[in-house]
Symmetry: C2
Subunit: 338 residues, 2 copies
Amino acid sequence: MLATLLYSPGDVRCEEIAEPTIEKPTDAIVRLSASCICGSDLWPYRGLQDIESPQHMGHEYCGIVVEVGSAVRTVRPGQFVVGSFCLSDNTCPHCRFGFQSSCEQREFMKGAQAPLARVPLADGTLVATDELPSDDLIPSLLATSDVLGTGWYAADAAGVQEGSTAVVVGDGAVGLMGVLAARQMGAGRIIAMSRHKSRQDLALEFGATDIISERGDEGVARIKELTKGVGADSVLECVGTEQSMQQAMNCARPGGKIGFVGVPHGVQFDGQTLFFQQKSLLGGPAPVRRFLPHLMDLVLDRTINPGKVFDLEVPLADVAEGYRAMDERRAIKTLLRL
Amino acid sequence: MLATLLYSPGDVRCEEIAEPTIEKPTDAIVRLSASCICGSDLWPYRGLQDIESPQHMGHEYCGIVVEVGSAVRTVRPGQFVVGSFCLSDNTCPHCRFGFQSSCEQREFMKGAQAPLARVPLADGTLVATDELPSDDLIPSLLATSDVLGTGWYAADAAGVQEGSTAVVVGDGAVGLMGVLAARQMGAGRIIAMSRHKSRQDLALEFGATDIISERGDEGVARIKELTKGVGADSVLECVGTEQSMQQAMNCARPGGKIGFVGVPHGVQFDGQTLFFQQKSLLGGPAPVRRFLPHLMDLVLDRTINPGKVFDLEVPLADVAEGYRAMDERRAIKTLLRL
């Protein structure tokens, strides 16, 4: 089959490889209905993260189970499933506390930018639907696997609740999903920080009540202005740079919560500053499995349409163009037709 | 009157100064029933924090109101009051969110190691009792002003709840109060990290279920052993050093919460480590005013006896010995008889 391999920064290729097979009794093989490129795939693509060359790319997935290992009990061939990008047993204490992304057996999914994928820890990772979903729901179901689940976790970690004022730092796909999540959680005001028209429009469609195009001190000043000088209850940090984290810290009110889901690159926090700013911090890889059944329900009953975040669709053979478009910010998120 | 002045590191003196007077219409003058020395007074005493020489010391206080400014409405002369070490208006948005220690008008109390003190923002800061309390309750009421309120905030920020497993890092007065707070909040297991017999005994008396004398990696290993490899739900960091913060981070389970109330000195957090450890952080100067009415009730109905944390009592004239005893860790906390 064709699959996506990253050889070195900027050098992503679609090449013929062997189809995956069951390696452990807890594995499942899934024929993917669609795949996509994640913002986090750009870190190694840009040379900002080490790779094993060639690296099998892709960790967002949904599709039909074609085979399961002998120990798998909860899914069977023929079922439509979605799984988290974090593979988990869903039974260890961390999983039971809802932090499946810190599962004692945690692995990260790979190789999902291809028509078939091996999913380890299938019982703990995959969630099946009752019936096969209609085709038009595939992009949104695919989104629950990571990008929506991650935006949702940002809002959850930032303590968004009925009536909250939430600020979303970052207008990438995760930030836009954070807007959608904050809306679903009942935030009264959702301020999206974005300076790109197409992303601003999508943020408004997903539920943003205000758009701020300023950044840095000016951005903070605008947030203060919009919140009567108080600052936001909740800030969703969806980038991971020093600048965006600083932005997030300065936008939250004292006692406010920051949920950070952009993998921090070059970010340091000074203890005494954190102390006197008195802001709550929780981040990490999203425990998508915790949210997955609920998010899938919201998609299946058409309450939400996160699939709109895909603004470019290419066949798998053109995956390199999909990466380039996201790298150059011509696309928010690329869907791969398999 | 006699008052406590810090001239330079190690040089604390009890000297005659003018009695305080009403300076603003929102002030009150309080005749203190007792005063005490705080662990945080040792930072400037040890030369680890700049001082204005001479610095008027003391920020924990309770006593009888003797005079109020023309704008004060909620307390009157003759009433017994306790106030937080953080002065707040208790009406600004931050106060209304329960973060009075980040009040828009915040000031820090000073000059309370003396028989009389001026308390700015009296309406927002002071809480009066219905009747004059009996003398034996004074130490415990004094404790609510800072040391208990701070330990309580550590437990609150660490999310302690019914059945939680809590670890308390630091066996100073604040840590011991953290044990008491965790107990009151219903923690099922309270693990105090202490290697000093007298402090271990007090921790047990305040509600600790386990004592660990190991530190560093060994301490973490013991916590893991006691929690079946999981780590603690809640960690109260009550010291403020790099080592103690590291200890706190490593003792919490993924998704666990760390409440840190020791003013960080030389502490840095790496963003990516924080991300992958997936632990929640909230610290800061304690918003004691939020908890004060409840804590005073618990003392007045004799549910708790935080005054036991005072293990040395000296007359104000001997305040220098009180500082020395705490600096040399001969005393946990010194009460000053006025």
